[in-house]
């Protein structure tokens, strides 16, 4: 359906190639393998039919008011962002291998790297990873590579999906040790950390705001890590950094994050955006692509892909990572988003998220039997201790009230019992909160 050549074109082309028929072109494929039978529909749909079929399928997803966050957030996507991202010149380009014909993409990548470094207060960033989890895993891999050590300490509040991905990234390798640091009220316990840190430790990996929405104070973490020759890998939600202390300000060697909140739709998990930044001394340990500013023959400013000796297409089996395609368009989206917000807008956005979550928490905790599970300062989301079965409450509200009240944490943290991770963002209204409160009150 998306082929330009006509039958006549094909015949003439075959003649110019010097063959009688298409089958002469594929003689290198043993004949018995050609044109197998497929159990697939005999008819393809036209565009109108396909669009209609997909609309029908989309409508089978139940659209309800959701208070689920846990690493992916319903955030407002500005119209200008959508318009710019849909420009064919961005959408349909490839990795900028020919720099002179790709200055647009290369400059946007440079601006992306700059924005991320500024946001996280780190020295450098790369051109993106697949998602927050893979960025986290790659940062720990870098720390293991740099230190030559095999023990990884991670805080209780790191997104459990990141930890699962991390373990997979080490290939189930039994040579590596992954140890959870004890927590105090959901946050990293410094005494506990001190007890675990030793000369075998490659890095301390932690997240703030953590999975429970709690902002952590990492002031001492990097000092403690450094005293043992270990590195500090920090994950942070980029939007929270409009208000909260940055990984860079807390001594992180690598800082990563999930960039979905910077203007990307939820889309059932992807495509998202892995943010990856590091200190200057580790720039050559970064995975993936990097755009650098340089000059052309006339001394004019221009951009190129640089430090490629870290990459698979140059170094093959010696590369820092195998990543090739990354999330360039998503990174561009984040760049545009941050340019539209600027420092003030970002602060307002963070404040709006902070306020919404606090309003929701206050209302829900006014219900008898419900309280906050953890005491600390929270952003975007919070953990409720419930007097009833969290999973049942959730299904009931989904079914009866068209509200998804949050994520029961039992699957991830059985020891927390009946708890619900509830998220409110700048898109949440007073009305939404009232509906949630009423529904919960009536259902517990």
């Amino acid at each position: 359906m998306f082929i330009g050549n006509t039958k006549k074109d094909r015949e003439e082309m075959l003649k110019i190639i010097g063959v009688n028929s298409f089958s002469d072109l594929v003689k290198q494929v043993p004949e018995k393998f050609l044109y197998p039978k497929f159990k697939l529909p005999a008819d393809g749909m036209d565009e109108m039919q396909a669009a209609a079929a997909m609309r029908t399928l989309a409508s089978k997803n139940k659209m309800l008011k959701s208070f689920v966050g846990a690493g992916a957030y319903a955030r407002y996507i500005p119209a200008a962002l959508k318009a710019l991202l849909s420009r064919g010149e961005f959408l349909t380009a490839y990795t900028p291998y020919q720099a002179e014909a790709s200055q647009g993409i290369l400059q946007t990548i440079y601006e992306y790297q700059s924005s991320m470094a500024a946001l996280y207060e780190m020295d450098y960033g790369n051109a993106s990873m697949y998602d927050g989890a893979s960025a986290f895993a790659e940062a720990v891999r870098a720390a293991v590579r740099i230190t030559g050590r095999k023990k990884v300490l991670y805080s209780y509040g790191v997104n459990p999906q990141y930890i699962a991905t991390l373990k997979t990234y080490f290939g189930g390798g039994e040579d590596y040790k992954f140890i959870q640091i004890p927590h105090k009220d959901g946050c990293l316990d410094l005494a506990g950390l001190e007890g675990l840190l030793d000369q075998e430790t490659a890095c301390v990996a932690a997240q703030s705001p953590n999975f429970f929405g709690l902002a952590e104070d990492f002031g001492k973490v990097s000092e403690l890590a450094k005293a043992q020759g270990a590195l500090f890998v920090a994950a942070a939600d980029p939007v929270s950094l409009g208000l909260f202390r940055t990984p860079g300000a807390q001594g992180a060697d690598f800082a990563v994050g999930e960039g979905q909140g910077l203007g990307l739709p939820l889309s059932y998990g992807g495509p998202y955006l892995g943010i990856f930044t590091c200190k200057k001394e580790y720039v050559r340990q970064m995975p993936g692509r990097i755009s650098g500013l340089t000059k052309d023959k006339d001394g004019k400013r221009g951009f190129v892909l640089t430090l490629q000796a870290r990459e698979q297409h140059i170094r093959r089996d010696k590369a820092a990572s195998n990543i090739c395609s990354n999330e360039a368009l998503c990174a561009l989206g984040a760049t545009i988003y941050l340019a539209l917000l600027g420092p003030e807008g970002l602060k307002e956005l963070a404040q709006a998220n902070y306020d919404a979550a606090h309003a929701a928490a206050e209302r829900l905790c006014a219900i008898k039997g419900i309280s906050l599970k953890f005491k600390g300062t929270f952003f975007n989301e919070f953990t409720l201790a419930l007097p009833c079965d969290a999973r049942k409450l959730r299904s009931r509200l989904i079914e009866k009230e068209n509200i998804d009240p949050g994520l029961p944490l039992k699957d991830f943290y059985p020891e927390l019992g009946d708890t619900l991770l509830v998220c409110a963002t700048e898109t949440t209204t007073e009305e939404d909160v009232s509906r949630l409160e009423k529904a919960v009150r009536e259902s517990i």
Binding site: F2, L57, E100, Q103, S267, G292, C330, H358, T377
Partner: protein, 484 residues
């Protein structure tokens, strides 16, 4: 293009003025929550641009215009499959019901998306002749990673942990050896035979009790089909190893050949190439690995299943290699792939491969006098050429030709890849280009070849019409300037 080159080349931060604003967030809920404690608060504002909305729109629009893309230029970048991707895909993936769905939504509320993913899984298995599939990986390289993890888990379960070697032909994509060593395997490079295929004698010498996987790109990066693949898979299996097929270039085989019938055990697809997602300047992509029955239970979680008429994300897989990313895969991309599948019967899928192959051979035939092909055989969906002797005599390199092509309004082919071909020029027109475009491209290539004789310096100094001249890559790497 010319006007644009004269416009300013400032960064967004250099267009910034204090106090200028585009988006405001007034906050829909005002709440007198206690302020963030001092110790936790950010101290200095991030250095982000301060622009009006109009500034931002003009800035990024300008950047888009100094960029080649499939929409604006022929882009015969070998191994990258720069084909046209139906615009309806974009509308579909952006439908509220799909784009607004939270990844942790309960299965009951996600039936529409789950149904798409389930049906996509089945159709891809059928197309590949494989038994099970995961759509979790985020790209091709991520799929290779997942595939080798599956292989490792399989051998671990069989008590064969000493299978630590991955045999990778020298014609393989760079991601193949990188993936192998990322997982702690030892990549074993084997040289191709004179015809560009795996040399069976060489393979035999390297296969053994330590071999975990033979990793083949089919068609390989020379655009050639591994005609002996049945023998290769037999040899590998006899040695107790598995065969992994890098199927990133599946638009050469789609609807024409079922890889499962070739004997491969694991293969990956680059959904963003064959199944039509625009490449976005380097991503996002989406990957998939399809496997034979005996490897099913090792696939990463979740796998989409159907039970009693309902679709669900299955996490209950005791032998799984685990999670390769947070949440499900790059669903937005997978939905585009699914819409594309809906619009093609199996016969029409076969036409994709046929036209990709015809177009590549046509380009090769038109260029044969000035740019001899590395291989004398017909090619699959891409061909590898080299600069003719007249050009080499004048000291003109493949890089010069690539840059000069930009002046003629064409994106360059892939150059210096595969590494085993000296001064390689790798051309992949894809199935969506018409004969006329390939004619124009060939005529530009021939003009460059003629220029080599008449005015070689002009070719060596190219490009002349881009926003910048040739860029200093050495300086960029020696004194990295990576941010404002």
């Amino acid at each position: 293009m010319n006007d644009i080159t004269k416009l300013d080349n400032r960064l967004s931060i250099e267009k910034s003025a204090p106090g200028r604003r585009a988006l405001k967030f007034k906050g829909r809920i005002k709440h007198g929550a206690a302020p963030v404690p001092e110790t936790l608060r950010r101290k200095t504002a991030p250095r982000l641009p301060e622009l009006s909305e109009f500034d931002a729109v003009r800035h990024f629009t300008r950047l888009s215009k100094i960029n080649f893309s499939v929409d604006s230029h022929f882009y015969p970048l070998g191994s990258c499959t720069m084909k046209y991707n139906p615009r309806v895909n974009e509308d579909i993936a952006a439908l509220d019901g799909f784009a607004g769905l939270h990844p942790l939504a309960s299965d009951e509320t996600a039936q529409g998306t789950l149904e798409c993913l389930y049906d996509l899984q089945n159709r891809l298995c059928e197309l590949c002749g494989m038994d099970a599939i995961t759509l979790q990986p985020a790209a091709g390289a991520h799929s290779e990673f997942t595939g080798l993890l599956v292989a490792r888990a399989y051998f671990a379960r069989k008590g064969q942990k000493d299978r630590v070697e991955i045999i990778v032909p020298d014609s393989a994509h760079g991601t193949n050896p990188a993936t192998a060593s990322m997982l702690g395997f030892s990549p074993v490079n084997i040289n191709s035979g004179p015809d560009g295929r795996v040399d069976l004698e060489v393979l035999k010498r390297h296969l053994g009790a330590k071999t975990a996987v033979v990793m083949l790109t089919v068609p390989n990066t020379l655009g050639i089909f591994e005609s002996n693949i049945e023998t290769i898979t037999k040899m590998a299996h006899e040695a107790g190893a598995l065969v992994y097929m890098d199927g990133a270039n599946f638009n050469a085989l789609i609807g024409l050949v079922k890889p499962g019938e070739l004997g491969v055990d694991i293969m990956h697809l680059n959904m963003h190439k064959t199944f039509s997602t625009p490449h976005g300047g380097g991503g996002p992509g989406a990957g998939a690995i399809a496997v034979k029955k005996y490897l099913d239970s090792y696939l990463p979680v979740p796998v989409i299943k159907k039970e009693g008429g309902r679709f669900l994300a299955d996490f209950n897989r005791p032998l799984t290699v685990g999670r390769v990313k947070a949440f499900f895969g790059n669903t937005g991309v997978l939905l585009k792939a699914y819409a594309y599948m809906l619009m093609h019967s199996s016969r029409e899928l076969g036409e994709i491969a046929e036209n990709a192959i015809i177009n590549a051979n046509y380009a090769k035939a038109l260029l044969k006098d000035c740019f001899p092909a590395h291989s004398k055989e017909h090619c699959m969906h891409e061909c590898v050429l080299t600069p003719g002797p007249e050009m080499t005599k004048q000291g003109i390199k493949t890089l010069d030709i690539a840059k000069r092509l930009l002046d003629y309004g064409f994106h360059a082919p892939t150059v210096y890849f595969p590494l085993i071909v000296h001064e390689a020029i790798m051309i992949e027109p894809t199935e969506t280009e018409t004969r006329e475009t390939i004619d124009e491209f060939a005529s530009a290539m021939k003009k460059i070849s003629a220029e080599a004789a008449s005015d070689p310096q002009k070719v060596k100094d190219a490009p002349h019409t881009m926003p910048v001249k040739r860029l200093d890559e050495v300086q960029a790497a020696r004194q990295p300037n990576l941010r404002w």
